[in-house]
Every structure is written in structure tokens, then in C-alpha cells.
Symmetry: C2
Subunit: 418 residues, 2 copies
């Protein structure tokens, strides 16, 4: 009962603050962002002292070196937060612009104004820098944010939020615009997810378990990103030199991320030539190929793929290879095993390229480009708060615009309905 | 267990059909719509025979005359479905267009293509014509639809869907594009709402009870419309002649609908003059005024408002009147009692008008216009599937575009990420 009340009060404070956040000028918002950047540098030792408490606790529990790396706020991590904040100032503020103002036959001017969503809850794991990134994106778009980071980063997250609040207070903005849930009790999340009157959107960031938990328990709309099972389809009319280059880049540029290549589909007409061209560079880069029966005939030394390999997000130097008999065969495979994240084709054929763009269902569909380009920065959004693989509100990388909505505005001269 | 399997199989059929629906040409889709219109007229007697079964069952249960009216497929209802279908053909098909195709520094062309959502579930009450309206809007936007109407309209809904399927089959389109849940068992809804892999969106249409049930039980994103508690604010610089006309139209043009006026806010500086001008026409139209203490001083004969009247959706000839001391006072009242549906101001002051447009949070904000204009047809959307009062994906009237999403498309020339 105590936690229920605490979370409700916290969310109501956010809701109360949201009306004033919505009407802040771009100049004021940018002043806060620059001031947070300055304070992060000035108060680095305080932040790192708080961070060390989390690190010590984590080490005593024996967490993995990778987790420890994500938890640590090194000088580099601080510099990167500072750079992001300064870059965010240069982005266009979407709030308040009116799109498509058209005149109706009765003289009414009807348009759509971009406005903040209101209150956004971020539920995330590990990296404490998400605290600053998320708060900054929400402030720039006039939204209040409620942050619930991983329990292992609680001291770091509270310290970073304190820096942000200091910058808000200096500009006479309600410090409730950013709130960190002060408890690590998991019941707090369940409470938060029931507050559909106070909170407009929930964004979970983390493993599939966290995202499923949030989806299953939320009455509030959720923007989510499950996994990236990305494919590259080498068409029979592919330029094989491009095909090799794109395979290498998509698979090995950064294998541990969601837009890395996991499955290679090769048209049977070019399979032998292409796979023989590819195999050396894959070996050189340390990529393990797992092939279908037909590809094993061409490359007898590779591992035989199991049924469970198809559609798996390896996040590692492993690549499934499947020979397909046609465009439709490739399309059916992608429909079955893809995760609607990123799908790319290599082809020189105009009609095949346009069919792929039109018919493949994924948040990003590409022709002759590396899957690694499905990223907010690369696609020109300027900032990214995640990649949505569900279709409501946002599909693909989410930038500032995806943290807003549009209301109808009507300028009349006394019109009534007849 | 039986119903679980049945609903899952039905949803999987929809999902399987959705890929082919997504790539239909506009011509083909329009041919189906025209053919449904023709068939509705040709098979009128079959439809009305099936409808009579529902009417007889309803009468034996003793339902209200209003419910009976909504259930009946009269000749007029058929004509109105036919007109809507023919009008829908003339609307622009949003699917397949690419917006904002821009060139990135590395030469990639990046844009966003409008695509169907996939599978949409409609859960609605009473009016069987929603079966045709919803199926038509979903077909025009390349979506499959699963329909779950009220149990009292089951024969009518199955008959109307059969007409639609006949038109689909004649164009060699999968009849699974439209499916009616064949059982009236409520467990079917709960099952449906759990199928987040198969269904992309749920739209409930009906009373608040139905909408809350769907929201609380759905793992699938929901577009919903709770209620319309709409206000008109008569500013101190209002043109009082316009103010009277807009009050009458907003309140009495059609009092039983969601964009009808429920609360009148009057600036104290004009309250006496305005209310005295208004009172006769309200009496003439049979509107009961329920006033705050101060308005009772001006109009002693009106009913005193109870606390529970503020924020109530009367859907009747009742109007709350509240005298406010300032713009901020009106804004605070709207924030507290409004339902984010429609808010309108009457003023001749430029700055006050722009503040209202920018600062009031509602799906439609208006200056000098009747609240009755918050309607897809009136605002130029051409067709409407409801009005969203939540902010994700759609806020305000939902037309064809709101039944779609956008995916990123990338045209490359072999680019890799460096």
C-alpha cells in the first residue's frame, strides 16, 4: 500500500508539471541542456563517487565484466553524454509547429500542431547514461520523464538526475520534470504501469524479458523493440562484389547490436559463385557460417544449421546461410523468421528492388545498403531513443518527432455546423 | 481450450492474408468496394431477413427502443452504407507513397513509405453497419480486419460479412481479409486480446465499459475514445453575438454525440451581458442550465450545479455554466474537468486566441468555431473510424492515414557503414 501511494504521488507530480513543460521556449530548453552538459563536467567527481558505490555493490555480487563495463561512468562516458547534449541543442524543436493548415469550404482553417505526449516513463537496465540521454530527449520535446533504471545503478541514476534537476531549477522550471523512482522494489514498476491517467507512454529498454514484462503488465501504451533478426538477400542479379562487401559490413562491423546481420539468403543461380567468393573473408573475420543442406554442398567445411538457428539473434560472429529458389522463397523466409527490424536486398534489377521495398514488412527495408544503417543517427533523425519493431505510433528508429503527437487546431470566424 | 484454438486459428488466417492485402492495387480495392455497394442493394432482402432474426431475439429480451433502432438495418441504413462505400472509392489511397525522400551525405536515399498496419481487430456494440464501414476502411488501407460485434447483432453481422466476402472472392482476394468471430462467447474477446503476434491494433467502439475492458485486457495496442466532455470558453474579448450562436450550435445541433458541448466557461467581465443574452435561446431550445453560484446571481431561475455536474458527459439538453476570473482560471478548469476531446474559445483577441491554441491539451482546439466540427468528415479526412482521445499514434479523428504506419526505405548503391 505504501509503495502504491508513493508511485501515484510521484506520477501526479509529473502530470502537474507537464502543462508548464509543454509551453517552454526552445531557447529555455536549450539553456537547460547546455547547463546540464557543463554541470556534468564540473561535478564529475561527485558523479563518479556515487557510481563507485554501485560498482562496489555489483562487484560484491560478482557481476560479469561486460555488465561492469556498462555500469561504469568513465571519463569517456561523461564526455559522450556532454557531446550528445550539445548536439541535441542544434536539432530543430518539433513542438508548436503546425502542419498542413488547409482551408475548408466553410472557411475554417484546419491544421495539426505538434505537441508533447505529456509524461513518459522510461524503464531500462544497466547503462546509467540513459538517465541523461532520456531526460534530455524528453525535455527537448516538452515531456516530463519518470525514470526507472536498473537497481544496480540506483546511486548513479539518482546522482545524474540531481545534476539535471539543478539545471532545471536554475531556469525556474519545475524539478518534477525529471523524476527517478527512488526504490529498487520491483513492485514499483507494476504500480507505474497501471497509471494510465497520469502517464502517456512507457518505453522499456533492455532485454527481451524486461520488455515482455512491461508489455504484459502495462495499461499504458508501450513503444518497444524486441529483437533484430536482420537478413541480407543476395538476388540472382546481384553485383557480387557489392554483395560480399555488404555481407562483411552488415555482419562484422559491430556484431553485438540489433542491426547486425544474422541471416544470409542467397539465390540459387548465384549461390556457388557468391559463397565461394565470400568464404575466405568470413574465415578471416572469424565468422562461423551455419548453412542449409544445399550450401553445405558448395562449402562442405561449414557447420550444418539446425532448425533452431533460423531466426536466431546471435549477436555474435555467427551467420546462417540459406539458399533460396526465388524472390518469393526469400520473402516467405523473411516473413517466417524475420523480426520486422531490418531487411536488405542486393540486386541490380530495378523491378526486383522495387518489389522488395514495397513487399517486405520491416521497420527498415533497403536496397544495396548495409543493415547497419538502421539507426537514428545514420538515417538523419539526429537523436534516437530506440528502434520500434511494432507498428503503432512509430516503426523503426525513434527520434524527437516520435516523442510527440499532433492535435487538430481550427481557426474559425464564428462558423457553426449546419 | 476449444475457443482458444478457434480464435488463434482465425487470427492466423488473417495474418497469412495480410501480406497479399498489403500489395493490392488501388483499382482492385475500389472494384471490391463498388461491388460490395452493388451487392448490398441486390441482396437487401437476404440481409433484412437475417437482421429480423436479431430483432426478434432482441425484442423477446425486451431491449430499449433506442437499442432496437440502432440494431435495425432499414432501407435508409443500407442506402447510407452504399453511399459511404462509393465515397470511399474517391478518397486517395495512402498506401505505397514515400514521404520525405532525402539524400544523406553518403548518397543513401532515405524516406518513409506508408504501409498497412496488418491485422486490425474491431470490437463494437449494436450498429451492424459498422461491419461494412470498418471492413471497407480496412480494405482501402490494405489491412485485414477481424470483427467482433455485439452478440445481439450476430446474424446481421455474419450476413453483411458474407456480402463482403463474396465481393472479395470475385476479385480473387483472400476472403480471410474480413472475418467475423462466429461466437458470442465473451471469452473470445479475451483470447483475441492476447494475440499480439497476430494482431497489430485493436479498436473498441462502444460504451465506456467496453473500452475499459479492452484496455485492461489487451496486450495489443489499443486506439480508444473514452468520452467527450467539451467546453466553450467565452473570453472577455468575445464577440457576444458569435458566442451565443456558437453556444447554441455546439449544444443543440446534436446533443447526443461526443462533440456536443457539455460545459460553458464565461469570463466574469462579460458574464452578466452574455448570460442574459443567452438565456432565452437556451430556454427556447429546451436546454437546462446548471450554474455555479455566481451565474445563479445573474440568472436566479437556473438550477444550481452540483460538484458532480462538472466534467459530466450529459449527452442531453443540459449545460453546465461556470464563471471564471481569467484565462488561467479557464485553462485550469479545462485541465481538471475536460476529457481531451474538444475545447473551443470565443475571442477577438489575437494573443488570447494563440495562447488557447498552443496551451490547451485536447485532440481538437478551436477559436471561434462550434465544437461540433471535431469530426473526420468536417475536418477533411473524408472517412472516420472514431476519435482518439489518447495521444499515441492518433489524437483526434482517425481517417485512412491513421490505419497505416510508415516504414523506412533506403535506396543505396552499395554503401557500408564506416
Amino acid at each position: 500500500m505504501e509503495i502504491k501511494k508513493e508511485i501515484l504521488e510521484l506520477a501526479q507530480k509529473s502530470k502537474d508539471a507537464s502543462a508548464s513543460l509543454a509551453v517552454l521556449s526552445t531557447e529555455t530548453k536549450n539553456r537547460v541542456l547546455l547547463s546540464v552538459a557543463d554541470l556534468l563536467l564540473e561535478e564529475k567527481s561527485y558523479i563518479q563517487t556515487e557510481n563507485k558505490k554501485d560498482i562496489a555493490a555489483a562487484q560484491s555480487k560478482g557481476i560479469s565484466p561486460a555488465m561492469l563495463d556498462r555500469l561504469t561512468i568513465s571519463d569517456n562516458v561523461i564526455d559522450s553524454m556532454v557531446t550528445s547534449l550539445r548536439e541535441l541543442c542544434s536539432l530543430v524543436d518539433p513542438i508548436g509547429g503546425i502542419e498542413n493548415l488547409v482551408k475548408r469550404p466553410n472557411g475554417l482553417l484546419v491544421g495539426r500542431m505538434r505537441v508533447p505526449l505529456g509524461v513518459i516513463a522510461m524503464i531500462y537496465e544497466s547503462r546509467p547514461n540513459v538517465t541523461i540521454d532520456a531526460a534530455a530527449l524528453c525535455l527537448k520535446t516538452g515531456n516530463c520523464v519518470i525514470l526507472r533504471g536498473g537497481s544496480e545503478a540506483i546511486h548513479s541514476n539518482i546522482a545524474l538526475a540531481a545534476i539535471f534537476k539543478k539545471a532545471l531549477a536554475a531556469q525556474q522550471i519545475s524539478v518534477d520534470a525529471i523524476q527517478v523512482i527512488p526504490t529498487t522494489d520491483r513492485a514499483a514498476i507494476t504500480e507505474l504501469l497501471s497509471l494510465e491517467e497520469e502517464i502517456d507512454l512507457v518505453i522499456p529498454r533492455g532485454g527481451e524479458g524486461l520488455i515482455r514484462f512491461v508489455t504484459e503488465n502495462s495499461r499504458i501504451p508501450v513503444l518497444k523493440h524486441y529483437k533484430g533478426v536482420c537478413h541480407l538477400f543476395i538476388d540472382k542479379e546481384a553485383d557480387l562484389e557489392k554483395a560480399v562487401r555488404l555481407t562483411i559490413n552488415s555482419k562484422t562491423h559491430r556484431p553485438g547490436v540489433c542491426n547486425a546481420l544474422e541471416g544470409l539468403l542467397v539465390h540459387e543461380a548465384v549461390a556457388e559463385t557468391f559463397l565461394k567468393q565470400l568464404t575466405d573473408s568470413m574465415a578471416e573475420k572469424g565468422v562461423e557460417l551455419r548453412g542449409c543442406e544445399r550450401s553445405k554442398v558448395i562449402l562442405p567445411h561449414i557447420v550444418a544449421a539446425e532448425e533452431s538457428d533460423w531466426g536466431t539473434e546471435f549477436l555474435d560472429l555467427i551467420l546462417c546461410v540459406k539458399i533460396v529458389t526465388s524472390f518469393d522463397d526469400a520473402k516467405a523466409y523473411i516473413q517466417r523468421y524475420g523480426s520486422r527490424h531490418t531487411e536488405s536486398i542486393v540486386t541490380e534489377n530495378y523491378t526486383t528492388a522495387q518489389r522488395f521495398i514495397a513487399e517486405i514488412d520491416a521497420s527498415a527495408v533497403m536496397v544495396n545498403a548495409s543493415t547497419r544503417f538502421n539507426d537514428g543517427g545514420q538515417l538523419g533523425l539526429g537523436a534516437e531513443i530506440g528502434i520500434s519493431t511494432t507498428k503503432l505510433h512509430a516503426y523503426g528508429p525513434m527520434g524527437l518527432e516520435e516523442l510527440t503527437t499532433r492535435k487538430f487546431v481550427i481557426y474559425g470566424q464564428g462558423q457553426v455546423r449546419v
